[in-house]
């Protein structure tokens, strides 16, 4: 077998595997990407009911209600619109009123967001970037609450 033939086999099979991978990527990307939405987006019906999306914002003060059998309801707000969220299960440690939260799930016909997963941040100083941008867009972001702000003045030394 000549070098040329060998190379052809190699290139042919590589292209075959790559084509297979591209087909896999394209088919699964369509099904498994999840869009991030602010409460305003949801209120404007940007996410069709039943479609899996992420909703990010702040947990509205005074909105958390715990019900029977680990049911929990709360409102997610971006300062402009509020979206009621229902969830059954255990919320993360840093899930609190007035703090950032991301819920993944879908909008139900009544307008309630049914969450399958609730994510909170891992560090009390840290705010997920998506939420910062959502709040900035609505004009409710204060730089004083910036992540990792050092309360005492730092010198450059």
């Amino acid at each position: 077998m000549t070098r040329k033939q060998r190379r052809l086999i190699l290139i042919g099979s590589s292209l075959g595997v790559l084509a297979f991978a591209v087909a896999l990527i394209l088919s699964s990307l369509r099904e498994s990407i999840v869009f991030f939405n602010s409460p305003t987006d949801i209120a404007d019906n940007k996410a069709p009911p039943g479609k899996r999306v992420r909703l990010g914002g702040m947990v509205k003060m005074g909105s958390v209600e715990r019900g029977y059998d680990l049911q929990i309801r709360f409102d997610v707000t971006d300062g402009n619109r509020d979206i009621p969220v229902s969830y059954r299960g255990i919320v993360p440690d840093l899930f609190r009123e007035g703090q950032g939260v991301i819920a993944e799930g879908h909008v139900e016909p009544g307008g309630t967001f049914k969450a399958e997963t609730v994510l909170a941040k891992h560090d009390e100083n840290y705010m997920p970037r998506e939420i910062v941008e959502t709040l900035k867009k609505q004009g409710h972001w204060q730089e004083t609450a910036a992540p990792n702000a050092v309360p005492v003045k730092a010198s450059a030394k």
């Binding site: 297979f20 050092v150 003045k153």
Partner: protein, 660 residues
């Protein structure tokens, strides 16, 4: 004073790195031995100064010197001593210092143990290593100085993020960085070979042990990170396809491919150009991983803070090194001579197959990880690509790869006999079929993939065993022959068999834990009992206790199986007053063999009940055990006489001249 000393030592290391960036290259070009030799001393001294700098920061932490901003933000006087050590790298600045510490360590190791390298190759390798080092020293000094002082000294620190107050922090980052940064050696060798325009089998023999070492550390680092996430984050999952996890998986996949292609190059002098390219890509992926994690473009446990300047700086480093090395590759690679021929059915082809699939799998992870970032930059749409994408693309690519593993091990070099190999694998095939049929009979059609997963895992494991039995001639039934052959077998052959066997172990763990694992989320009142997979857990009540820098509320559970007590589980919640009452959930684990019961606490409800999340994870420990055994296989291979003693001399003795 100590902080300033550390800062100054880092500046000196930068100065040395700048000298080392230029002098050896000049020396190698002109054939000036003195200039080339200079790199040995500067590499060692560089490591000395970075170590001093690192020691200075550690001292600031141990002495709780809160006048240093970094210590103030991440430490606390009441924190246990071990966390004062580990929190040195539990933050952005300190972890970058650890990064360069390891980088300079590897440079020093090449300088110290590279005596049998051709002088010009060694000089160029050390120079390239120093380019990387200089870039990262500049990054630390300009954007992430860990020794910054505060004008007013606070009385108490703000404590380390409680999630990081764990033994995992002592193991996971150092091992991961040893892996990431260890690949820089393969990169430096590749770039040096391109500069010289010359490469031979001896080159692969020098590169392989370094790659192997980095790969072992990365394997352990990833496994440790996965186990840590599993018990600390309280979700009971062990891999989330989080972008940051993917950032560590990509160099691992590319590094695994590199490990295999370097074998072909070493034994058969083929696949040279591809091996060079893989070496460049592997370290490039490590750099991309560092960028993704350290720049704050991603949101995760690993992100400490956002600073656009840092992201931009790393992005520039990234573009210079990846772009530069790929341009050099495009320019110089045609100079490298083609290697030996091999038939489409041969060990070489099997390793090409391995590389093809590993590289493609790596590419799919790359697409899934970076697509959201690119899409957001282009259209502003924010999306996330979750586990389903990776399972759908990664799985189908790994199945053919795993099926091929036992075949590749048994095929002969140059021209193999697929039919003969298939015959020798009949026993392994039979084991796999029995496993598949048994699972099928036991489970029926409930879990479609499980029987095939079990069959595949058994096939990989039995294939590795077949390799050993064939080599030791187990069928001869003469103990003396077997013993002699086993002892005479090269360690690298043992290493291969052990690492491939471990692949089967991990797969078995993944299949079992995900198929037969069960989960319950319930609200319980004291004296109530919850049952899972034959275990009964009764909730006895709450216990309160104080830790050194936290308060803990634990729930006491007694675990029974068939009426008899087999253990106690105490999942807890810890609150950290120093962190404004931030709390963490500490899951309780009860290990039975290699299976685990996993219990973590949720919120207290108004009616006095507590929410608990309970999992039974059959054979889950095999996942990480497999990774450890895999690394052990690497260690066996590393201890091979061939690699320990180094390459035969002839190639080294020819006075290499730069190809023009």
């Amino acid at each position: 004073m100590i902080a300033e000393l550390g800062h100054y030592a880092l500046v000196l290391a930068l100065a040395l790195a700048l000298i080392q960036s230029i002098s050896p290259v000049l020396g190698a070009h002109k054939g000036d031995v003195a200039l080339m030799k200079l790199a040995d001393s500067t590499a060692l001294a560089q490591f000395g100064f970075v170590a001093l700098s690192f020691a200075a920061l550690t001292a600031c932490y141990v002495m709780s010197d809160f006048s240093v901003a970094n210590v103030f933000e991440n430490s606390h006087t009441q924190m246990p001593l071990i966390y004062k050590f580990t929190s040195v790298w539990g933050n952005h600045e300190g972890s970058m210092l650890l990064w360069v510490l390891i980088l300079s360590l590897f440079g020093a190791l090449v300088a110290a143990f590279g005596a049998n390298l051709p002088a010009t190759l060694k000089a160029n390798v050390l120079a390239v290593q120093s380019w990387i080092a200089a870039a990262f020293y500049l990054f630390i000094l300009f954007t992430s100085n860990p020794f910054r002082r505060l004008a007013e000294v606070p009385v108490e620190g703000r404590d380390l993020n409680p999630i990081l107050q764990d033994f995992g922090l002592a193991v996971h980052p150092p091992m991961l960085y040893l892996g990431y940064v260890g690949f820089s050696i393969a990169f430096s060798f590749a770039v040096a070979a391109l500069i010289e325009g010359r490469i031979d089998a001896a080159w692969a023999r020098w590169v392989r042990p370094w790659t192997l070492l980095a790969w072992m550390c990365l394997t352990v680092g990833i496994a440790m990170g996965s186990y840590w996430a599993y018990y600390e984050l309280g979700w009971g999952g062990w891999w989330f396809w989080d972008p940051v996890e993917n950032a560590s998986l990509m160099p691992w996949l590319a590094g695994t491919a590199l490990l295999h292609s370097a074998v072909v190059m070493e034994k058969r002098n083929a696949l040279k150009v591809w091996t060079i390219l893989l070496a460049i890509l592997t370290f490039s992926l490590s750099l991309i991983g560092t960028f993704l994690v350290r720049s704050g473009v991603l949101t995760s446990v690993h992100t400490f803070s956002n600073d656009p300047a840092r992201g931009l700086f790393i992005l520039i480093i990234l573009m210079v090194f990846i772009g530069g090395s790929l341009a050099l590759f495009a320019w110089r690679a045609p100079l490298l001579k083609q290697g030996g021929l091999f038939a489409p059915i041969s060990r070489e082809s099997a390793l090409v197959f391995n590389n093809l699939f590993l590289a493609t799998a790596c590419a799919t992870v790359f697409v899934g990880t970076l697509y959201p970032l690119v899409l957001e930059a282009l259209t502003g749409d924010k999306i996330s690509v979750g586990a389903p994408f990776f399972n759908l693309t990664f799985g189908p690519l790994f199945v053919p790869l795993l099926i091929a593993v036992p075949f590749g091990q048994l095929l002969a070099w140059k021209r193999g006999d697929l039919y003969g190999v298939a015959q020798r694998l009949l026993a392994a095939c039979a084991v796999a079929m029995v496993g598949l049929a048994a699972t099928f009979a036991f489970e029926g059609t409930q879990a479609v993939f499980a029987p095939f997963g079990i069959g595949l895992a058994l096939f990989v494991m039995a294939g590795a065993v077949t390799d050993i039995t064939e080599r030791t001639d187990l069928r001869s039934l003469s103990l003396a022959t077997i013993g002699r052959r086993a002892a005479g077998m090269p360690r690298s052959a043992w290493g291969t068999a052990v690492a491939h066997f471990a692949l089967g172990i991990t797969l078995l763990g993944i299949v079992c834990a995900s198929t037969w694992g069960s989960e319950r989320i319930v609200a319980l009142k004291p004296s109530q009992t919850v049952s899972i997979s034959g275990y009964d857990l009764s909730f006895d009540g709450m216990v309160r206790r104080d830790g050194s820098n936290y308060r803990e509320t634990a729930a006491h559970f007694t675990v029974r199986k068939a009426g008899s007590v087999i253990g106690v589980m105490e999942p807890s919640k810890r609150t950290f007053p120093s962190r404004d009452g931030m709390s963490t959930t500490e899951a309780a684990l009860l290990t039975r063999g290699v299976s685990q019961l996993y219990l973590s606490l949720g919120d207290n409800n108004a009616d006095g009940s507590i929410a608990v999340r309970l999992y039974h994870k059959p054979l889950v420990l095999l996942i990480w055990l497999g990774a450890l055994v895999m690394a052990l296989g690497g260690a066996l291979s590393l201890s091979d006489r061939r690699l320990r003693i180094g390459a035969p001399k002839p190639a080294a003795r020819i006075l290499a001249q730069p190809a023009e």
